[in-house]
């Protein structure tokens, strides 16, 4: 691999990750199409590189969420049982699913992500003081998962309860499977799981899902790495660029008006969905293989 290609990979993933970070999104959903459609890399090589960058961004972003006490680590470790099991299923399936079908699944995930980005997330959590009699109705596991987080705007500690844990675990299993198959963070399934099923406050939801995605992705990346399916010359610059981009994106998040970028991203995601859909049908719009 030439240095100019390494530099292209570094800058392209830096840009994808910075743009994704401005909307609080993981970069994987942009990196795979970027590598395949514009870098003309093989889909499985792109997935291998992307999954490493997903882990790096998760670990890089987790520290600040943990210090702000927004991450529910107990809930994360429970949900990770489902996400890693999903990742394990994804790894086993990956050898069987034809590349065209992977393109088609990716196109659907991109289209759903565009829809999610178009419709704003609503906070469906219900803050509560959690009296003892309410806790005793939950099993030992669920009762240990309710928690609190510091709300800086309100200047107070806010309590929240966990709802529909089984449904959340089921959706998380699907998120792990999609993550392993496509090399992405699977926000498309994690957001409904966290917001609608578990009804977490949005800040806790973002922090906890970011914390979890590293382990979920590592479960599949470990296998891909051991099998020699991760091309280090590609994954290295992509991971480095993604981490730097995520840091830049988080800083830009505060300065750039969110609404115009949201509309732009919906359009970009839809265009990528169309292109990946065309690849699934065997039609190339970018002149690549």
């Amino acid at each position: 691999m030439s240095m100019s290609m390494a530099l292209w990979l570094l800058l392209a993933s830096l840009a994808a990750s910075a743009l994704g970070g401005m909307l609080g999104m993981a970069s994987g959903i942009f990196i795979v199409p970027l590598l395949v459609l514009f870098g003309h890399f093989d889909l499985r090589t792109a997935i291998g590189a992307s999954i490493v960058s997903v882990i790096a961004c998760s670990c890089g972003g987790a520290a600040s969420y943990l210090r702000a006490r927004l991450t529910n680590v107990r809930l994360a470790i429970v949900l990770e049982v489902a996400t890693t099991a999903g990742a394990l299923s994804g790894v086993l399936l990956s050898g069987w699913i034809p590349e065209r079908m992977l393109f088609a699944i990716f196109a659907v995930v991109l289209a759903l992500s565009a829809y999610q980005m178009g419709s704003k997330r609503r906070d469906q959590s219900n803050s509560t003081d959690m009296p003892g009699h309410l806790r005793s109705q939950d099993g030992w596991l669920k009762s240990r998962l309710h928690s609190t987080y510091p709300d800086r705007q309100a200047g107070a500690e806010v309590s929240y309860r966990i709802h529909r844990l089984r449904l959340g675990m089921t959706l998380m299993y699907g998120a792990g499977l999609i993550s392993a198959l496509l090399g992405i963070g699977s926000g498309v399934l994690k957001i409904p799981a966290m917001d609608s099923a578990l009804r977490l406050p949005i800040k806790v939801s973002s922090a906890t899902s970011n914390f979890m995605i590293g382990v979920t992705a590592a479960a599949s990346a470990g296998v891909y790495f051991a099998r020699g399916e991760i091309v280090t010359a590609i994954a290295g610059p992509v991971a480095l660029g993604s981490v730097v981009g995520a840091v830049l994106g988080a800083k830009l998040l505060m300065k750039v008006p969110g609404e115009s970028i949201r509309v732009l991203f919906v359009i970009v995601l839809l265009l990528l969905a169309i292109q990946m859909g065309c690849s699934a049908a065997g039609v190339s719009l970018t002149g690549g293989a």
């Binding site: 030439s2 240095m3 390494a6 570094l10 490493v52 882990i55 790096a56 998760s58 670990c59 890089g60 987790a62 520290a63 600040s64 943990l66 210090r67 006490r69 991450t71 680590v73 107990r74 470790i77 429970v78 990770e80 049982v81 890693t84 099991a85 990742a87 394990l88 790894v91 086993l92 050898g95 003892g132 806790r135 030992w140 596991l141 240990r144 928690s147 590293g214 382990v215 992705a217 590592a218 479960a219 599949s220 990346a221 470990g222 296998v223 790495f225 051991a226 099998r227 991760i230 280090t232 010359a233 994954a235 290295g236 610059p237 991971a239 480095l240 981490v243 730097v244």
Partner: protein, 121 residues
């Protein structure tokens, strides 16, 4: 009602301590992996430009590979650290949950590699 409040307070202190340790671990690991990958890319660039000894030529890809290995291992080390902290605070149920996650990752690694070898023939 007093006992649950006391246990809640103890649990909150444990979680806060765990948050701090995990934040340090993940931040340090990310820095280490980025430094290894950056050093590897820089070595490769030097080897490309001035064509020096074989050592520099080999070192670049090896450093990048090590950086990627650190990235992949970091979340697994994080789960192992959580398991240890749950065990130390005698929270054996969550210790078992953390061990389950490690067991699934290990099983995935064993089955994934074994299945691949089987398919390869």
């Amino acid at each position: 009602m007093v006992a649950p409040l006391e246990s809640d307070a103890v649990a909150a202190v444990c979680v806060e301590r765990m948050d701090a340790v995990l934040a340090q671990l993940l931040a340090a690991g990310t820095w280490l992996s980025c430094a290894l990958i950056a050093a590897g890319l820089a070595s490769t660039a030097i080897a490309d430009v001035i064509r020096p000894s074989a050592v520099v030529t080999v070192a670049g890809p090896l450093l990048v590979r090590s950086g990627i290995a650190v990235v992949i291992a970091l979340p697994v080390v994080r789960v192992a650290a959580m398991a240890l902290m749950f065990a130390r605070s005698r929270d054996f149920r969550f210790f078992a949950v953390a061990l389950s996650v490690l067991a699934i990752i290990a099983a995935g690694l064993a089955i994934g590699i074994g299945w691949h070898a089987h398919l390869q023939g």
